[in-house]
């Protein structure tokens, strides 16, 4: 099978890589670009640990082919902080202890950022339904919802 060359933008940086035709965007990010922030929890679109944005749209990178990133803009957890300044959501997750093991955290942060861009003032129920595709087995989601709402409030007043 022939490899496919891909030119794309990840977190604002232009990058080139080659991939196998069946390779997922998640594998390319992790194995070819050393961006291991996105995690594989299931590989079937059921856990959200691999969440990234593709042209601004929230996707499970385990369900996207790496070749589909050609010419696109990919956003991962590694691009959330502005150099040494954490994103409001990242700080809020720390302040609210919204992570225990932290394996779900990159995906949940990326998903929450996408939510607040679309809906800066969600209800708790909207947060819960938006994050329904992101499994967290440690926290019971309570502190996650609080962290997202606190970040949303801070972002609105910023």
């Amino acid at each position: 099978m022939k490899s496919i060359p891909v030119s794309t933008t990840v977190n604002g940086d232009a990058v080139d890589f080659v991939c196998a035709p069946g390779e997922t965007l998640l594998d390319a990010l992790r194995n070819r670009l050393s961006l291991t922030g996105a995690k594989e929890g299931c590989g079937t679109g059921d856990c959200g640990a691999c969440s990234v944005t593709l042209n601004g749209r929230l996707v499970c990178s385990c369900l996207v082919l790496a070749a589909e990133a050609e010419g696109a803009e990919v956003g991962t957890v590694e691009g959330m902080a502005d150099h040494d300044k954490l994103h409001v959501l990242q700080q809020s997750f720390l302040d609210h202890a919204a992570l225990q093991c932290g394996i779900c955290t990159p995906g949940i942060l990326v998903a929450s950022k996408a939510l607040l861009e679309e809906n800066p003032e969600p209800t708790d129920e909207e947060v819960r339904y938006w994050l329904a595709g992101n499994l967290c087995r440690c926290t019971g989601y309570d502190k996650i919802v609080r962290a997202v709402q606190d970040a949303a409030a801070k972002m609105r007043s910023a």
């Binding site: 995690k39 394996i103 994050l131 926290t139 019971g140």
Partner: protein
């Protein structure tokens, strides 16, 4: 200097600082099991049995070995035959020897230049099986004519007359049951069944192994215990423990499921054979089929009660299956079943039977949730029948300090009554309910463990401190350990950094399990800090030219202990550290011990659910957890344990279950069909932390991690019974089961 055994005025304990590993975890920098790569690394994959039970007649790996890019293939032939039976079971579970014992049991593994080649090579391995009859259900497995999973594995304690599948048997209790039942006004006897569930950690098992032909190796893996991994892998690989360096990665959840090995010995064997580093990562399907889910169970409970709610006698028969190898989880269930009650006559009997399912490994309070589900369901039914308040009945019979528990120990200070009283006084208990809603409650219990720990606390010349310990941090323990060190030394939290070391950097610590880390490692940290303080006092004494016994440690500084000791200004930790090279050399405190006194923990959960009469679907609408933490070091992470355990229990009660087909094949090995609770399924999980100090710890700490999964099963069943009028005696209470119960009720 001397130390007060107990401490009450805290500066750091009880605050909520940000955890030291936090920034790495919100930026994606933290490295988990699958995140590390090595130069020259190969990728491995495992071939697994498609049958529930079969003899392996022949394995031909020659075609796979001949493929371009394949660097090593291993089967059971590449492993020795450990003498120790438990080790042999673990090894056989990692790589089947003569028989496959469950769907998904490993039979061969490949290391290749990439994942595509490895997968293709698996297809080229030819395995000839001779299918054998299988058994999946515990009650079937105990019958005399059941297919035998393994032969000759029954312990001596198992009475005659059972199937050879019955490997373990136990009995606990005291008093005269017949007399107790004779005194009862009401006797209720019920039978319950519960499905096997999975811990459901989001990070699949993953490791990176590198091993040379000289028997030296390195292993990076996600585990709850690097020393356990080292001992087991060194045993299987027949190498010396000192030659295997195991480094624990950040761990993406465990809940007990990462307290053994499944893939690590396979990766080491492949690496040794290929002469290159090997990465091996399970898929989610492999996690479900071939890691260590819980027991499934079948339980009979019989309780006698007088009209005023006094329990006069109680009996439980608990039949567990922990899959295809013997295990003793039934003993924990049989000990936990009636732990919340002070009973004159009580007896529990526990069995374990082999089935063709993956080998059980711990899941949060192993054995207790299903036992207490059965007991608390019967207690609730009796409260309803006698028209008694469920909290009052529990308070009336509650275990307390001095109670001889149903499993023999006499309790010291415990917090059960305090949690019950808190539940009764909480607004949730009396809040109005909506249509189709019901409220239930249940008690929960867990033993908690102490065990071995090693801690080194190094005082740096700039006045900062490093704590080195050996227990993987699953839910914020590095923060708690740093807080304990800061508290004890009288310095700021931000002056301490705690790291979880590899197996060559510090002595043995037992696995992160049994809710033991904050208790045991915390205790060792207190003692290591006290060791360091004693040494720092001695340094100050030498500088002042006075007796070290005349120096005490107050507010982060050495000072003369009284006017007779001499008049010197206090020397802070930083000041003593700065001159340490001139006063005798580097300063460090150590502690290594095997701790007991962990202190049992009790909790009470209060739960409102709403049942849709049309579909049988239930939704939890309000939930409050009350639990005794002894002393909450970092309340955020205590709350997190209570909330996380409660939600896992909610999943167990309502959705989660291993489903097998007639063919013994697991039908739902994925998150789509094995549905764990998602955010939109749940309400906020409120928590109330009680602090009844554990006399076995200077700060009163008790483990908190496990008790919280115990009460939800019965709390939800009881809420359903009160709200929808149906008593579900089988878990999960899935919509079809609830609907058919509703229809049967009419």
């Amino acid at each position: 200097m001397a130390f007060d055994e107990t401490k009450h005025d805290y500066k750091v304990i009880g605050t909520r600082p940000v955890r030291p590993d936090g920034i790495d975890k919100v930026t994606g920098r933290a490295l988990y099991g699958a995140d590390l790569s090595a130069p020259g690394m190969l990728t491995a994959a495992i071939l697994r049995s498609p049958h529930a039970h079969a003899k392996i007649v022949k394995i031909d790996t020659s075609k796979a070995e001949a493929m371009a890019g394949v660097k090593a293939v291993v089967t059971s032939r590449d492993f020795g035959l450990p003498e120790d039976q438990d080790l042999r079971d673990t090894q056989d579970n990692c790589m089947a020897r003569d028989k496959v014992l469950y769907d998904g049991h490993a039979v061969a593994a490949v290391a290749a230049i990439n994942a595509q080649v490895a997968k293709a090579a698996l297809k080229a391995i030819e395995v000839e099986y001779e299918k054998l009859p299988h058994v999946i259900d515990v009650d079937d497995a105990m019958k005399g004519d059941a297919p035998l999973v393994l032969e000759g594995r029954a312990l001596e304690t198992v009475p005659e007359g059972w199937s050879q599948n019955v490997t373990n048997y136990c009995e606990f209790g005291h008093g005269d049951l017949d007399d107790g039942f004779a005194r009862a006004d009401l006797i209720v006897e019920r039978s319950f069944k519960t499905g096997a569930t999975h811990q459901g950690y989001i990070e699949p098992h993953a490791c990176l192994a590198s091993m040379g032909p000289d028997g030296r190796g390195e292993l990076w893996c996600c585990t709850q215990g690097q020393y356990m991994v080292r001992e087991v892998c060194a045993g299987i690989m027949e190498i010396e423990a000192s030659q295997l360096k195991v480094t624990p990665s950040e761990i993406g959840g465990g809940f007990g499921g990462k307290t053994t090995v499944f893939i690590e010995p396979v990766a080491l064997a492949l690496s040794r054979k290929a002469g290159r580093p090997v990465k091996l990562v399970m898929t989610r399907e492999e996690v479900f089929r071939a890691s260590g889910p819980t027991i499934h169970s079948s339980t009979d409970v019989k309780i006698g009660m007088t009209k005023d709610g006094t329990i006069t006698a109680a009996r439980a028969d608990l039949r567990y299956s922990g899959g295809c190898y013997p295990n003793g989880t039934c003993e924990m269930g049989a000990q936990a079943a009636f732990a919340p009650y002070d009973l004159k006559a009580v007896r529990t009997y526990g069995w374990n039977a082999l089935t063709n399912r993956p080998k059980e490994i711990s899941y949060r309070a192993p054995g207790a949730p299903t036992a207490i589900y059965a007991v608390e369901s019967v207690v609730d039914e009796m409260c309803q029948k006698l028209g008694l308040d469920p909290v009052d009945v529990r308070l009336k019979n509650a275990a307390d300090k001095g109670t001889k528990s149903s499993y023999g120990v006499t309790f010291e200070d415990i917090g059960l009554k305090a949690t019950l009283e808190a539940a009764k006084a909480h607004p949730h208990y009396t809040a109005p309910l909506g249509p189709n809603q019901g409220r239930g409650l249940s008690c929960g219990f867990w033993f908690n463990f102490g065990g071995n720990a090693s801690v080194t606390l190094s005082v740096n010349t700039d006045g900062t401190v490093n704590v080195t310990e050996g227990n993987p941090d699953i839910g914020g323990s590095r923060a708690s350990i740093s807080m304990i060190a800061a508290e004890e030394l009288g310095i700021g939290y931000d002056r301490v950094r705690t790291i979880v070391a590899d197996t060559t950097s510090i002595g043995h610590s037992d696995t992160t399990d049994g809710s033991r880390v904050t208790f045991t490692v915390g205790l060792a940290t207190i003692k290591a800090a006290r060791d360091a303080k004693t040494k720092m006092c001695a340094r100050a004494a030498a500088l002042w030219g006075i007796d070290p016994e005349a120096v005490e440690w107050v507010d982060g500084a050495a000072q003369p202990s009284g006017p007779n000791a001499g008049k010197f200004p206090p020397m802070s930790l930083a000041e003593i550290a700065a001159v340490s090279f001139q006063t005798g050399g580097p300063i460090a405190g150590h502690h290594e011990s095997n701790a007991d006194g962990a202190g049992v923990s009790f909790g009470v959960h209060l739960c409102d659910i709403e049942v849709d009469p049309e579909t049988g679907a239930s939704k939890v609408v309000r939930y409050t957890v009350f639990q005794d933490a002894g002393k909450a070091i970092h309340p955020d992470y205590v709350e997190g344990q209570l909330q996380g355990g409660a939600v896992q229990g909610i999943g167990w009660a309502l959705n989660e279950e291993y489903i097998y087909g007639e063919d013994g094949i697991l039908q739902n090995p994925g998150f789509l069909d094995y549905r764990v609770p998602v955010a939109s399924d749940l309400p906020p999980i409120d928590t109330v932390i009680l602090e009844v100090p554990n006399p076995g710890h200077p700060y009163g700490v008790r483990g908190v991690g496990e008790t919280s999964i115990v009460p939800p099963l019965a709390a939800i069943a009881n809420a359903m019974s009160r709200g929808a009028g149906v008593r579900l005696t089988q878990l999960p209470m899935s919509p079809p089961r609830v609907l058919s119960a509703l229809m049967a009720k009419g």
